[in-house]
Amino acid sequence: MRLDIQGLYWGVDGLDILHDIKMSVDPGAMVGLVGPNGSGKSSLLRCVYRALKPRTGSIAIDGDDLWDISSKEAARRIAVVLQESPTEFDFTAYEIVSMGRNPHKQMFDRENEQDDVIIEDALNQVGMTGFADRSFATLSGGEKQRILIARSLSQQASFLLLDEPTNHLDIRYQLETMDLVKELGLSTLTALHDLNIATEYCDKIYVIDGGRIVASGPPPEVLKPPLIKKVFGVGSSVNVNSHTGKPRLNFYLDRNGKNGL
Amino acid sequence: MLRETPFVILAILAVVLLLAACGGDDADSVQGGEAAGISVENCSTTTGEDSQEAFPVSSHTYTEAPSRAVTMNQHTTELMLTLGLQDRMAGTAYIDDFILPELKEAYDSVPVLADEYPSKEVILGSETDFIYAGFASAFRETAAGPQADLADLGIPSYLTLAICKEEADSIQDIYDDIANISRIFEVTERGEALIASMKKDIESVTSKVDPSGTPIRAFLYDSGDDAPYTSVCCSMFTNLIELASAKNIFDDVDGRWATVNWEEVIERDPEVIVLIEAVWSTAQEKMDFLTTNEALADITAVKEQRFVTINFSSIVPGIRNPEAIRTLAEGIYPESFR
């Protein structure tokens, strides 16, 4: 499943917030979207899962324009993992995952054996078998995240969208979640806060600032100190994570306005 | 998702609809007009609410005298009992304060259906064949239900004529009620006798008071501290006080009862204040309020302590009205009655 975004503009009250966005996600690739708060990360993601309609430009999923297909069809192709949770209403983990079947169900359809198998399988894949009857509200942050990923799996979509999946998680669950997503092998677009996680897991990243894509490419090539300084306003240096072999960034506040190396 | 659920619900609904279809049309209607009988004109409410407007008039033919009448409200009960009809009654309801002592024994021989309005079921349970009501509220859904529904069940109903009309209430309405009721129950001589005795009672009072000269200004005080509730132009009280040669200071306000304000009372300066004695507001409470309130101290009636107490049930259109006229006249012109 590939995603191609061309010439996308979006704004509110006549003022554009996203300008001329061009992006693509290759089949099976894990693509990260990074940028400071307010840069438009969330808005861009919301355009992709149709919560917002672009003013102009195209979003194509496997060549089909996103707005040419029905919202149910879009939901069959794209699954989203958000930080939303039903606050006052309690669902079991099973029920949450079963909501992923919604895009596949017509009004008069009932649940059937196949649905059960799909849901069970989704729970297995995220390692949450046995949690089916647990109340979602009582799960830990990491467990909740995995259930939401399982929901995406039961949607049987081949494109996964994640909005800052590691924000509120303990470090262990951050890494476990990203490992899981990576292992799933679906085409993935994820907004990320943590540049090191982006470097560790993403095949390609896009850097967005002020509603524009300012850089794209493999993380080690893109996330260099000058760019980081310009976009994030901090000095940085790069060395290597001895365990994984991937580059890792170190940050410091540059009070003198000089570039550090 | 449970397969059976929608079908169960739809099944229940189907049953209900079926019942609704077959339940609708098997009520016996009152046969009117064809058989010979006594035709009486009365009105009927459609909303079961007292209204400023007239209720539509219709006439009903009684082929035989009812034998299981139910009276709702005190004045209708007393009227029937005064005509000696207690053995044709199956129930009474909603007494305001107390039944006249001379009628007590007769009253006790008839079952009391409720302290206020009984529900429809209770009324039907009395197997009644005639309902005589004193206020339109007796025909609310939570009381006897609409008169049209009762008619469908073969139960004719009669509403006090004073309520039927838009024009002011007057004693004549009572005479007409007595005439109608006595015709329906085939006791016309008793009815005529009652009317005659009421007229005589009133005559004996009005003859003693001198109608010439400016009528005394009177104010009826029912209840209310912040704003007084009083009788206005077209209530029975206004007619009664006129017969007692006085004048209701609010007889220019439309309707039968209204909430006015103390400023108006002060400005219109009544010379005598009639205090209603009722369960919801005693005369003593009102007197205390009037005499301890400095804003009201300069009203002539308060300065001179000219108060007349009267029971609420006496000024409702009914057989107590002659006695009410006497009470009012004696209270306003005590000299004429010594």
């Binding site: 039903p86 919604n102 059960d116 399988d121 894949q125 | 449970l2 909303t47 079921e121 509220s137």
Partner: protein
């Protein structure tokens, strides 16, 4: 990194994977438990109807009651009883019990729908100001005597008031074409205040005696139940509940949040609008026939959720059935507690409802932000 470990692809191709079965077993257990509950409720409903018809201020033996019903249904002569008894059972009690069932179901269903629409379990059918609007309609008839639709004036005006207020709330809550749950609640509250003020004003201008009748209406009564008043609520209920049942999955998605709902293929704005229209119409019909009966729409979904969870595929049918049973018995109370007089229905539902909420607050600590123990 480009590993294709998409096991779900296998399932799509129709090759079922050997699952441990644990999850499906639990799903089946949950389905069985719910089926058991629904059947139980349905039986309780039938039993309630049968028993409620035998209870009333006038004593009629149960056997006589059932004989009367049977003879009216199947035109057989089954015994001796008076015309009064016959009328009481067939023309007063039975339509009343059935209407109680219909209204109870309808209000419960709307309660579920409103709670999903504003994503708040404290919502009830009247948060859009429908009961205040209906009250305005009612006082216009009772106090000002606007009897255009005789003999159905009261019901018709109540319906017009209810739906009218919904339309106003709907328009007020819009903001660049979108409606958020919060705006909806705010608009509803504001309008309810305005309409209550209008009602109070008209009421005060009228006769004192009108107070009692208006109060009775506002607190709800089923005393006016007649066979011909059953058809419209029955149809409205069937359609309303039917539509809601078909949308149960979408309602689940709506509870997760607008963003998630979108991601699952539900258009939250459009869906919310549809739910609101349905809720307004169904509430309007119920209020038109019985006045504003409170608490049912609020409590039934809560009680049901305590037992079956929040999945609407279970919550809806269970609430509908429980609502019917509940109101049938509440109405029995309204007929008998102060016999031979009538008590307004909401007095009883409030007496039951208030302790219920206190209990919820005290014993269910995990609900509504308490400690999650």
């Amino acid at each position: 990194m480009l590993g294709q470990r998409s096991r779900s692809a296998n399932v799509v191709e129709g090759i079922p994977l050997p699952s441990t079965g644990a999850t499906s077993a639990s799903a089946r257990r949950q389905a069985d438990k719910t089926r058991f509950l629904l059947i139980g409720l349905a039986i309780a409903l039938v039993v309630s109807v049968t028993m409620a018809v035998t209870i009333g201020p006038v004593y009629i033996s149960p056997v006589t009651v059932w004989n009367i019903v049977l003879s009216r249904l199947f035109s057989v002569d089954a015994g001796q009883w008076s015309q009064g008894q016959d009328n009481i059972v067939w023309l007063i009690r039975l339509p009343r019990v059935l209407l109680a069932g219909l209204v109870g179901s309808g209000l419960a269903a709307v309660g579920v729908a409103m709670q999903a629409t504003v994503r708040n379990p404290l919502a009830d059918p009247y948060i859009l100001g429908t009961s205040s609007g209906a009250s305005v309609g009612a006082v216009l008839v009772i106090v000002l005597g606007l009897n255009f639709f005789d003999p159905y004036s009261l019901s018709a005006m109540a319906f017009v008031g209810a739906v009218g207020s919904f339309i106003l709330v709907f328009l007020l809550a819009q903001s660049s074409g979108r409606i958020s749950p919060t705006r909806l609640i705010l608009a509803g509250v504001a309008l309810a205040y305005i309409l209550s003020a209008i009602t109070s004003f008209i009421l005060f201008m009228g006769d004192d005696r009108d107070f009692r009748e208006v109060l009775f209406w506002m607190l709800g009564t089923l005393a006016g139940a007649k066979w011909e008043f059953l058809t419209l609520p029955a149809i409205a209920l069937a359609l309303g509940v039917g539509i809601l049942l078909l949308q149960a999955r979408s309602m689940n998605a709506l509870l997760m949040g607008d963003e998630t709902a979108t991601a699952l293929g539900v258009d939250p704005q459009k869906f919310r609008r549809q739910l609101l229209v349905l809720a307004a119409l169904l509430t309007g019909v119920m209020v038109a026939v019985s006045g504003a009966i409170g608490f049912v729409g609020l409590m039934m979904p809560h009680i049901v959720r305590l037992v079956v969870g929040s999945d609407h595929r279970r919550v809806l049918p269970a609430s509908v059935l429980l609502g019917a049973v509940f109101l049938i018995w509440v109405d029995v109370g309204a007929r008998t507690v102060v016999q031979p007089e009538e008590l307004p229905v909401s007095v009883i539902t409030a007496l039951v409802g208030a302790p219920f909420f206190l209990w919820l607050l005290r014993w269910r600590k995990s609900a509504f932000g308490g400690d999650r123990i």
